[in-house]
Subunit: 286 residues, 2 copies
């Protein structure tokens, strides 16, 4: 119910993101926890109970500690959220079928990303544009950019295509995630939620007054506002279909853009040779 939008101290966050495991302290008691497991516990809670349940006290309780114990490992909650974002992206699927052409790769990537966001809906609640710039986020960005490499596009072109696709996927995933969260969050089942409103909407479609105010939407097929079948969640299916159909539309637009712009001129981004696709995945501080 309550979520963060801000962001922690960038320097500290970057150090935590990119720094290899810090040297173990030379004095004092051994650390009973690690940054890694704290971040994982926070992700577990967010996945299972929602971002609202991720409190410093709740995370610490998973280790039998008090909230303040976490401040030994993390500067504050905002930094913890930053770390959660990058860490969870490590599990995102990044094996895209680049060899099958950009459209197949983009479709696969969009579907993978959509499902990933639906699986970790709290990602949608944390600011996306102010990117965390962690290693795994860059992995993801690299994988998506590679889809459009070798088509004669500039880096800026690719940045925008990836941005557009990302924006669309996140928006569609948000519809899905919120359709799913509807019942859990409000304690009202999807059917109940819909039926309480249906009474108002029904009278609307038939009332001449409302047909005058809303001529277009009241002329839609009535099924669009029917009470959903509880076994086949209406909002969920709607969200899924809107994503699939919308994706095709967006990709059609990109096809036109690539056809018009792509000419392999100077400054265009070259494709990654297939041999290099499984490049080193090691990480070290820069």
């Amino acid at each position: 119910m309550v979520t963060y939008v801000g962001q922690g101290d960038p320097a500290r966050t970057m150090a935590l993101l990119w720094g290899s495991a810090p040297a173990p302290p030379r004095r004092g008691p051994r650390p009973g926890l690690s940054l890694e497991e704290i971040v994982r516990a926070a992700i577990d809670i967010a996945d299972a109970e929602g971002l609202a349940e991720v409190s410093m006290r709740a995370v610490a309780a998973r280790f039998g500690r008090t909230a303040m114990a976490l401040y030994t490992y993390v500067p504050g909650k905002e930094e913890l959220l930053d770390l959660m974002v990058d860490r969870v992206l490590a599990d995102a699927d990044r094996d895209l079928p680049y060899a099958q052409g950009w459209r197949a790769a983009a479709t696969a990537g969009a579907h993978a990303s959509w499902e990933f966001h639906v699986r970790h809906p709290w990602l949608l609640q944390i600011s996306a544009t102010r990117s965390v710039l962690g290693p795994h986020e860059l992995d993801s960005y690299e994988a998506q950019s590679r889809v459009f490499a070798g088509l004669g596009l500039s880096g800026l072109d690719i940045t925008r295509l990836v941005g557009t696709l990302h924006t669309f996927v996140r928006g569609a995933a948000a519809s899905m995630a919120e359709a799913r969260a509807a019942e859990r969050v409000t304690g009202i089942s999807e059917t109940d939620w819909w039926t309480t409103r249906a009474g108002y909407l029904e009278s609307m479609v038939t009332s001449p007054e409302y047909r005058a105010r809303y001529p277009t939407i009241t002329s839609f097929e009535p099924t669009a506002h029917d009470v959903p079948d509880p076994d086949a969640p209406y909002l969920e299916q709607q969200a899924r279909d809107t994503f699939t159909e919308g994706l095709a539309v967006v990709l059609d637009g990109m096809a036109a853009f690539i056809a018009a712009r792509g000419a392999a001129g100077p400054g265009s981004v070259p494709a990654v040779p297939p041999a290099a696709e499984s490049a080193a995945q090691g990480s070290a501080a820069p």
Copy 2:
């Protein structure tokens, strides 16, 4: 920094949204406030100071009352947020140039909606998919749907096109809003924020290790990661351009969809005659 995602009791909310002003009480002291001005005050705070500053105490303080006084008018904070959403949509621009064709109308509508969301960025933080279904939200939905009426599309087609466009606009507006909020929220200027990260990124582009891990994005023109000119906010301009360019791409895709699907068959949604465009805007409970 903290925002709500849940939603209030739907029945109560619907009554408040659609109910005309309730009959004044027959006994007891006169109400010193009204629902209307409470909602407006909350919107003022959200616009000026961000959604995080909209607390029951803060809203009440604008009227010299305590937080609990608001509960005479509103069941709780979540319902207040629902009301804010629908109320602010009353001010959205809805004069679209339908006569100039769907693409012109869609472009105008998208730009208006984008600017509206940038002006009221807190809208992006409140759940969008679980729509409030208030009169003004329906006005907006009607205006956007009308863009695609008369093209031979079904209601479901139109719903999805509108959904795709809406998703895209919100995502792009989110980029813009967060670029703007960056400084205010974190207390760090955009330039500072970027330069602290630039050190890490710079070494990345030159390091062979990172060129191997991120071959595509490290081959982009270096300007993409340059420190922005403080006078011409880099992130803002980037967000604006991505919106404009992305919109063209999305609309190209829609053009292809309409060309393929639009055949004015049975079940297709007819255009609204221009005469009816300035229809009655009065509202009454259904």
